[in-house]
């Protein structure tokens, strides 16, 4: 019996080694380990052996069954692995082929920049207001402390509305978002913290840094105890949120008729880091916005007592911010709407 087991073992191992795929392996399994397989039959025969042979033969047969089962499993996993590899090879694709990208458009870079600006100020407690683009001369200039024929009017070349709607220059396209300071203060009472995004217009020839239509964001804060230190705080925070924590800012005196004291804010040049280059005109500084404390006369014009309240205001050109952020060297790209330009701002 033991001989028989031995020769069965040799034959089984030999055939197992010869099986090359899962079909022949399964065939082998049926032949040896199946219900009617040789090993199963062998085990059944143990019972008919003389009692003294049974323990040894039984043990040998069981060992054979365990050994073959183990060998089968090893072989099965080897074949499975080989077949998996083979299948993978057959189904291999060129993974460097471009993917099926969903077709998604993009927001105009001015919209993106506006959102970023508004978001930064909203985190500092500023709301949003939007005013009309066609404005009364009185709001665009008069109530901002710039009466007719004031020399400061030359700071804004204005597009006026023709009759029958505009009469003697009383209606115009706003030259800045500053008239909305007046509108906000007429609409709500202090405490005021608001930014005003919007299109503005100037009678101006276009070049790489000037457009006759552009966006501004105006800012206004009016409350008890607002100081220039707060103005510096808010605007410094803005610049660092927008352009990076390491930015240096510079405030200098500047003149706008509707603020007193007036200021202009610059940041160190993001291109050269302040060493001086073409972008900063070799000054090391980039002017970002005009600002100042709301002129007491402007507060009086809207019925706010300047002895009780103070405020600050600022205004910035959105395209300029976007140009600095994305290193765009010509403002005329914004309203040419060339998709080859717009597609670069898929953010």
């Amino acid at each position: 019996m033991l001989e028989k087991i031995k020769s069965l073992r040799e034959k089984a191992i030999q055939e197992l080694e010869a099986s090359a795929d899962s079909n022949s392996l399964e065939e082998w399994k049926r032949t040896y380990l199946g219900k009617k397989g040789f090993v199963t039959q062998l085990l059944r025969q143990i019972g008919s052996l003389p009692p003294e042979e049974r323990p040894k033969a039984g043990e040998a047969a069981n060992l054979l069954r365990d050994e073959l089962t183990q060998l089968y499993e090893e072989k099965a996993s080897a074949i499975k692995e080989a077949e998996r590899l083979q299948a993978a090879k057959a189904q291999a694709i060129d993974v460097t082929l471009p993917g099926r990208r969903p077709q998604i458009g993009a927001l105009h870079p001015v919209t993106q920049t506006l959102r970023e600006i508004i978001e930064i100020f909203s985190r500092m407690g500023f709301g949003v207001y939007e005013g009309p683009e066609v404005e009364w001369d009185e709001y665009n200039f008069g109530l901002l402390n710039i009466p007719p024929e004031h020399p400061a009017r030359d700071m804004w070349d204005t597009l006026y509305i023709a009759p029958p709607y505009g009469k003697d220059g009383n209606m115009l396209l706003r030259t800045h978002t500053s008239p909305d300071q007046i509108r906000v203060m007429e609409l709500t009472k202090p405490p005021i913290r608001v930014v005003v995004p919007g299109r503005c217009y100037r009678h101006e020839a276009t070049d790489a840094s000037h457009e006759w239509m552009f966006y501004q964001v105006e800012g206004l804060a009016v409350d008890k105890g607002i100081t220039m230190a707060h103005l510096k705080g808010v605007l410094t925070t803005f610049v660092r949120e927008m352009f990076g924590k390491e930015r240096k800012v510079r405030f200098r005196c500047d003149y706008f008729p509707f603020v007193e004291p007036g200021a202009d804010m610059a940041m160190d040049c993001i291109v050269c880091g302040g060493k001086g280059c073409r972008v900063c005109k070799f000054t090391g500084w980039l002017e970002i916005l005009g600002a100042g404390m709301v002129h007491p006369q402007v507060l009086r014009n809207v019925g706010i007592d300047p002895n009780i309240y103070t405020g600050f205001a600022f205004g910035m050109g959105v395209e300029r911010i976007a140009m600095l952020k994305h290193k765009i060297d010509d403002i005329r790209y914004f309203y040419a709407n060339d998709l080859r330009f717009l597609k670069q701002f898929r953010a």
């Binding site: 458009g105 020399p151 230190a229 510096k232 200098r252 004291p261 998709l339």
Partner: protein, 807 residues
């Protein structure tokens, strides 16, 4: 304002290097746009002050001479020159001598080009250097003659030490006309650098007759002229000004004319008071009348141009007629010429508004009008007149008449401001030491009187018309002390929530949806042309808003629609790519009588060309109506709107069979469809163009971010397909509505998955195949129930629409 430091030094000590001075001025509100260095390239060992010892004839050329020049070296140098002001036989002139190796400007190059001087043989004579013109030294464009320096120029010193200079180009803010002067800037520098300020001393002998016996002045229109002073200098000799005066004028950006005219310009630059000099003998009747033009219609200014006057134009007239346009430009008839012997000096104060209007109406801006229109110090004219007389006497000789004729309206009182030092802290956020405040204001010319501790009465200097209230004084202190000193503090949070426009939220949400739908956002100009409007052929109830002073015919009308701009943008981009899908969300301008226009937020979409970007897996398909409609449906639903519908539309700008109105509830929101091909063609687009325009405000008024939750059924859904044949005219939406009605209460959806025409469907008919989904919330539907509903759907389709079940 161009400020030569050599001139500035006359009135204030310059303690800082130019860059630091420029920085200080910039920080204090006077931005230095440029620092120009005169003589930067004049090598100290190659360009000298020289003196001509002898001028010899050139052996081979009549028009050339040989100048023998002493420049302090042990040997003289002989240079060839063609200058007409260096003549044979002359000697003693001081010249600018350049030797080999000097870098000079090529006078004949069309653009400024530098060259390095080399010893050259000129017509057979070796010239080791040259005597230079202003152009060669980059001083001006003057190249007719060479520079003749003043007699006291020290021979042998480097020219850079004699003529070299630094010029600050300063942007003076419009509220500071007092600083459109060297003296004004000097006052600022004194305050900024804590230096002494020395205004020029105006003092001279008055040897002539009484001025008031020589000229009578009458201000007829005192509303436009608050002060007019006249000084007279008799017996002048007209000639060029001293060379260094000419240099100062040129450095400050003005052209030297003659000694008298130069004196007027010099004083304007020095004090900021515009001055005009008349030829006294041309003033008829020895009388000056300051009056409006009234019936005078034309006048010839000294530039030779005859100009039309307006009745309100302020003139200076003599007994017979106008002699100058006040504050703008003098007349040709009375101008100072080579023959002038006696000079009348005008130094006046004119109404700034009047000067500004006149200058604008005439299209004539002069150095004088630029200053007058900003409002000048009414106390300044006498000083200006006297200073001019002093300089004329110095440069042109003559005798100065005694006194001035000074006619004026009552002078405004000196302005005083009560200033509490606490105002500084209230505006700035920090306090400033009392001593610093009084020192800064004092240096700037303010007089302070302490009324009680921390409270001053501040008397404002007359040249500071811009300072009217405490906030102005706060700025003076803060800017001179420096904004750098102001701390950076975070603003406290507002005690109440701030406003935010509801509409803006929807605008931004809509943009995000459209971008996700594959569209690019564009922003186009709000002003459009007549041509663009005509091409669209739209009509409007009221005349459109337009700009009175357009820059070009391209940008005249405030657009009542976004479609033309968007189509143009589409057409432009189709030149570079096969498929374009864009949108704009912007305002259109709808006129209202006697009010600002309505500015309505409008959404427009345009698409044309390939539906998909070119790819290795894609298929080629042209965009069509349903691409556009799909985007609109997506947008509308994402805005939480469900009660919308599309109704066939017939509008001129669109193609009739492929156009629909979008309605929400009872509101017509806008239109979408295929653009009229004639319009597309006018924009040179051959593609089919699909466009939409919606009143976004109306759309947003229906929007909601609330979605009513419906429980998700836990029971299985039953899906059944049906295909029905209906008449071609029956809209698919009708079929769907009938199905949804008949399938109640368990029908959940009816999705059209096939639209078929052709055999075996008879002509004039179409087959629509729907996938119907039935489901109950509380149980599993039985086959019987589903079959019953399906049959009812078919029955209703037959009854209402004459449909037949297919196959």
């Amino acid at each position: 304002m161009k400020v030569p430091l050599s001139w500035l030094k006359d009135y204030v000590e310059i303690k800082l290097p130019p860059e630091q001075l420029a920085y200080k001025l910039t920080m204090a509100g006077f931005e230095v746009a440029e620092i120009h260095r005169v003589g930067e390239l004049w090598d100290r060992d190659k360009v000298f002050v020289g003196q001509i010892v002898e001028v010899k004839p050139h052996p081979n050329a009549d028009r050339l001479t040989i100048a023998v020049v002493d420049y302090g070296a042990s040997e003289l140098v002989e240079v060839v020159t063609g200058a007409p002001n260096i003549k044979v036989g002359q000697s003693g002139q001081k010249v600018a001598l350049a030797l080999a190796g000097a870098r000079l400007v090529d006078p004949y190059a069309p653009q400024k080009t530098y060259f390095t001087l080399k010893p050259t043989k000129i017509r057979g004579v070796l010239s080791p250097g040259m005597v230079c013109s202003e152009k060669e030294l980059d001083l001006s464009d003057e190249h007719e003659t060479v520079i003749i320096l003043p007699d006291d120029a020290p021979v042998g010193i480097p020219l850079a030490d004699y003529l070299g200079d630094i010029i600050l180009d300063i942007e003076v803010p419009t509220n500071r006309p007092d600083c459109l002067s060297i003296l004004g800037i000097a006052r600022e520098v004194a305050a900024l650098t804590d230096a002494e300020f020395h205004p020029p001393i105006i003092d001279y002998p008055e040897e002539g007759p009484e001025a008031k016996e020589l000229v009578e002045v009458e201000i007829a229109d005192s509303d436009l002229c608050s002060r007019y002073t006249a000084a007279v200098v008799l017996g002048v000799e007209i000639k060029p000004s001293p060379y260094l005066v000419q240099r100062r004028l040129r450095a400050a950006g003005m052209r030297p004319i003659n000694n008298v005219v130069d004196a007027t310009n010099y004083v304007m630059l020095e004090l900021g008071q515009p001055i005009h000099a008349f030829d006294y003998d041309k003033i008829r009747g020895r009388k000056i009348i300051v009056r409006r033009a009234r019936e005078d219609r034309t006048f010839t200014t000294l530039d030779g141009i005859t100009r039309s006057l307006f009745p309100d134009t302020l003139l200076i007239a003599d007994a017979e007629g106008p002699v100058a346009i006040a504050g703008v430009m003098g007349g040709m008839e009375s101008e100072v010429t080579d023959k002038t012997k006696n000079v009348l000096i005008e130094s006046a104060n004119f109404n700034r508004v009047s000067i500004r209007r006149t200058s604008r109406l005439l299209g004539l801006r002069t150095e004088a009008s630029l200053r007058f229109e900003k409002g000048l110090d009414p106390y300044l004219p006498p000083e200006g007149g006297k200073r001019t007389a002093q300089l004329i006497k110095e440069w042109a000789g003559g005798t100065i008449a005694k006194g001035l004729v000074d006619v004026h309206t009552p002078l405004p009182p000196r302005r005083t401001i009560t200033f509490h030092l606490s105002e500084l802290e209230r505006f700035i956020g920090i306090s400033y030491p009392k001593e610093q405040v009084s020192s800064i204001l004092g240096k700037l010319g303010f007089e302070l009187k302490e009324e009680e501790p921390q409270t001053y009465t501040v008397t404002v200097p007359t040249h500071r018309g811009d300072v009217t209230e405490p906030a102005d004084l706060v700025e003076e202190v803060a800017r001179i002390a420096g904004y750098d000193l102001i701390p950076t503090e975070m603003i406290p949070a507002p005690s109440s929530p701030q406003i935010f426009p509801e509409l803006l939220k929807w605008e931004e949400a809509a943009k995000d949806v459209l971008v996700a739908c594959g569209l690019y956002e564009v922003k186009t100009y709000a002003l459009i042309s007549q041509e663009l409007l005509d091409q669209f052929g739209l009509s409007y109830p009221l005349p459109l808003l337009s700009v009175a002073n357009p820059m070009t015919p391209e940008h005249v009308f405030l657009r009542p629609t976004l479609l033309p701009s968007l189509l143009r943008t589409l057409a432009y981009n189709l030149r570079f790519q096969d498929g374009v899908k864009i949108f704009e969300l912007a305002r259109v301008y709808l006129p209202r009588e006697n009010d600002l226009p309505q500015e309505r937020i409008t959404l427009a979409i345009a698409m044309a060309g390939e539906a998909e970007e070119l790819s290795w897996f894609g298929s080629s398909r042209r965009l069509d109506f349903f691409d556009l409609k799909g985007v609109v449906e997506e947008l509308v639903e994402r805005m939480g709107i469900s009660n919308y519908q599309f109704i066939p539309a017939d509008e001129r700008a669109f193609f009739p069979g492929q156009t629909a109105w979008l309605k929400v509830g009872e509101d017509t929101i806008g239109i979408l469809g295929k653009l009229n091909p004639d319009i597309a063609e006018a924009f040179e687009v051959e593609e089919e163009v699909f466009m939409a325009e919606f009143n976004f405000e109306a759309l947003a008024s229906h929007a909601s971010s609330r979605r009513e939750f419906k429980p998700v059924s836990r029971y299985p859904a039953v899906v059944q397909d049906i295909a029905v044949v209906v008449d071609e005219e029956i809209p698919a939406e009708e079929v769907r509505k009938v199905i949804m009605e008949a399938g109640k209460p368990f029908i959940r959806s009816a999705v059209l998955f096939d639209l078929y025409r052709g055999k075996p469907v008879p002509p004039g008919k179409k087959s629509l195949a729907y996938s119907l989904t039935f489901q109950a919330d509380d149980r599993t539907l039985t086959d019987k129930e589903v079959t019953k509903l399906r049959e009812r759907v078919i029955r209703e389709l037959e009854r209402k629409l004459g449909a037949t079940l297919r196959g």
